[in-house]
């Protein structure tokens, strides 16, 4: 398994994903796991963007000036939906955290799971 340029480009994202997963599995309070989920979300989106850019970096819009290497518009278009859905999830989770915070303001799992 040789180290190609594409794999090297993916390295920071894999690191980001590991950080997010570590945070999600080790968080003590609701807010932290919420933020960790956002980190994983960002990592996923970045994977899509970088995969799309593997063919080239130019914006895939046809104009008078033609470039030699366009990036793939298909994954970029599709990831827009995932961005919106991720945002909606975060909003819903924040709303629930707000409601839960009235009873236990620290939002710790230990308090919430044991009753």
């Amino acid at each position: 398994m040789e180290l190609t340029l594409e794999k090297i480009r993916l390295m920071p994202i894999v690191l980001l994903m590991i950080i997010g997963c570590f945070g999600l599995l080790n968080s003590k309070s609701i807010l932290r796991s919420l933020l960790s989920l956002d980190v994983i979300d960002t990592a996923t989106i970045s994977i899509f963007v970088i995969t799309a850019a593997s063919a080239g970096f130019q914006t895939p819009i046809v104009s008078i000036e033609r470039y030699s290497s366009y990036s793939d518009p298909y994954p970029q278009a599709i990831i827009l939906t995932a961005i919106v859905i991720g945002f909606a999830t975060q909003a819903l989770l924040c709303a629930v955290a707000l409601r839960l915070g009235r009873k236990s303001p620290m939002l710790r799992y230990r308090d919430l799971e044991n009753d």
Partner: protein, 508 residues
């Protein structure tokens, strides 16, 4: 000639349209919604047994592909019937808000049953997750809010895992179609399957199921078990049909899920949680066979909806709404209670696979479709399922008898009972569903061999005996409810790793 290319997408998006319009005109839209659900149920029933297949692409060349085929019809029929049962039985306790969530949920279900595109699948599953979140949080207390939080964060993570699998498959195949997954690498397949399994609530990924079913409202649990968990079954069945390694791994996961979850259910004291564990076990059976899995999930979904709807007394259900009229309605509602108990017993027997009920047919189909090695464990799982439902029937009947002895004063008069039974529309729904459960078993008479009937009856009796033998074991410290968020969230990773290990090294 009607153009199916336009009609089918319009039909798929009709419930969501009605749901959103219902926010503005609740009075007009609700009957329309029920009529449209009835129409969907009738239409899918009429093409259920046949091999009608129609594929279409939504926006011309390179658009979103749908395929309406034998995988989708049973599940569409099942979810429509589930929604109708729940609407009918809980009609006086809903806000119009609840109906709208259900209608939007129906569109999400239709998309996930019919799509053959991974990205549309992702979107429909996320929409489904939001609707399920709103249904769980409908009870609006701290516990159910926390459960819905766990569901949403676990489901969101599972869907992100699914998405990573999708992009890895895309880099190898260059498309998002399910049929192109044949050329995808193993890691991508594992990630996609782990996401789907979490949504459909099969064991290890489906640890959220018992918590949520026991704490949500009855009507929400009925919809969750009847519709929402079926959404992952159709894509899994489609994938197992074309990918042999996936169908082999599904047999391993399904068998483990069926047995382990059934053992949990046997030792669980609380009825709601036991039904949840049993649901995990039944869906494990449903993913075993790609051909009949959808029909099995349909039968299980309808029976589970009936079970959750009739699990508690009518009074206990409405206790939080109006305490005052409870005492006076006690006498009047007794025949209705009897009807609910009878429906509960019939639905339980159907899931046990008792002869002359719908479950017998689907259980035999799945059984004959399995490889011989898996049949042994499959039989074990069905025996354990019989034990669970023997206990549930015993508890339910016991509860009813105790309740009757409390209100001893009314005399037993058959005529008045029949009269009162026919006076309530809810009883018609219950009677109709029981008759349908029985009638559907006669559509395939060749399955009623002496051997299979005997096996089913013996399995039910053995289940009863096993129940008597384990009833004394107080297993409170044997089965701890899994409530830690870490366990719920970390499960998809574990399953993806196990699947990868299976595909690369074990090759079961």
């Amino acid at each position: 000639m009607i153009d199916l290319q336009i009609i089918l997408p319009a039909l798929i998006f009709l419930p969501a349209l009605l749901g959103f319009l219902g926010c503005v005109f609740p009075k007009i839209i609700f009957p329309l919604g029920v009529i449209s659900i009835l129409g969907f149920a009738a239409a899918s029933l009429s093409v259920l047994g046949g091999d009608f297949t129609y594929s279409f692409t939504l926006v011309g060349e390179g658009g979103i592909q749908f395929s309406v085929d034998s995988y989708s019809f049973p599940l569409i029929f099942g979810s429509c019937i589930t929604l109708l049962i729940v609407f009918g039985l809980f009609a006086n306790r809903f806000s119009h808000y609840f109906y709208q969530i259900c209608l939007v949920l129906l569109t999400a279900l239709f998309i996930s049953f019919t799509t053959v595109d991974l990205v549309s699948l992702f979107i429909s599953l996320e929409l489904l997750g939001f609707c399920a979140f709103l249904l769980v949080a409908d009870r609006n207390d701290k516990k159910s809010l926390f459960n819905s939080f766990q569901y949403l964060i676990g489901g969101g993570l599972a869907m992100l895992i699914f998405l990573i699998g999708v992009v890895q498959a895309f880099t190898f195949t260059g498309s998002f179609l399910l049929e192109d997954l044949v050329r995808a690498p193993n890691t991508a397949l594992c990630l996609i399957i782990a996401g789907l399994l979490t949504k459909s609530g099969v064991f290890l990924c489906g640890l959220w199921v018992p918590n949520i079913y026991s704490h949500a409202n009855c009507q929400s649990s009925a919809i969750l078990s009847g519709c929402v968990t079926c959404a992952g079954i159709a894509p899994i069945a489609r994938m197992s049909q074309i990918l042999t390694p996936i169908s082999d791994s599904m047999i391993v996961i399904g068998v483990i899920s069926a047995v382990v979850a059934a053992i949990y259910a046997v030792f669980e004291r609380e009825s709601g949680r036991a039904l949840g564990w049993s649901s995990v076990s039944q869906l494990g059976i449903a993913i075993l066979s790609p051909t009949y899995g959808c029909i099995y999930a349909m039968q299980h979904g309808i029976c589970k909806a009936l079970l959750f709807s009739t699990l508690h007394d009518e009074d206990k259900n409405s206790a939080d709404l109006s305490v005052s009229h409870q005492s006076q309605s006690n006498l009047r509602q007794s025949p209705q209670e009897l009807m609910r108990v009878i429906a509960f017993v019939f639905a339980s027997l159907s899931i046990m696979g008792f002869p002359f009920l719908a479950g017998f047919i689907t259980k035999n189909w799945v059984k004959y479709d399995l490889p011989f090695e898996a049949q042994l464990i499959y039989t074990t799982a069905s025996l354990l399922t019989s034990t669970v439902y023997a206990r549930l029937i015993f508890d339910r009947v016991n509860m009813y008898v105790q309740r009757r002895s409390r209100i001893e004063s009314n005399r037993f008069n058959i005529l008045s009972i029949i009269d009162e039974t026919l006076s309530s529309p809810k009883n018609y729904i219950l009677i109709l569903s029981i008759i349908l459960l029985i009638a559907s078993s006669f559509t395939y008479p060749d399955l009623f061999t002496i051997e299979s009937t005997r096996t089913a009856v013996v399995s039910a009796i053995l289940g009863g005996i096993l129940f008597v033998s384990v009833v004394g074991i107080q297993a409170d410290d044997f089965v701890k409810p899994v409530t830690r968020t870490l366990d719920l969230v970390g499960a998809p990773f574990l399953v993806a790793a196990l699947l990868l290990a299976n595909l690369l090294y074990f090759k079961i």
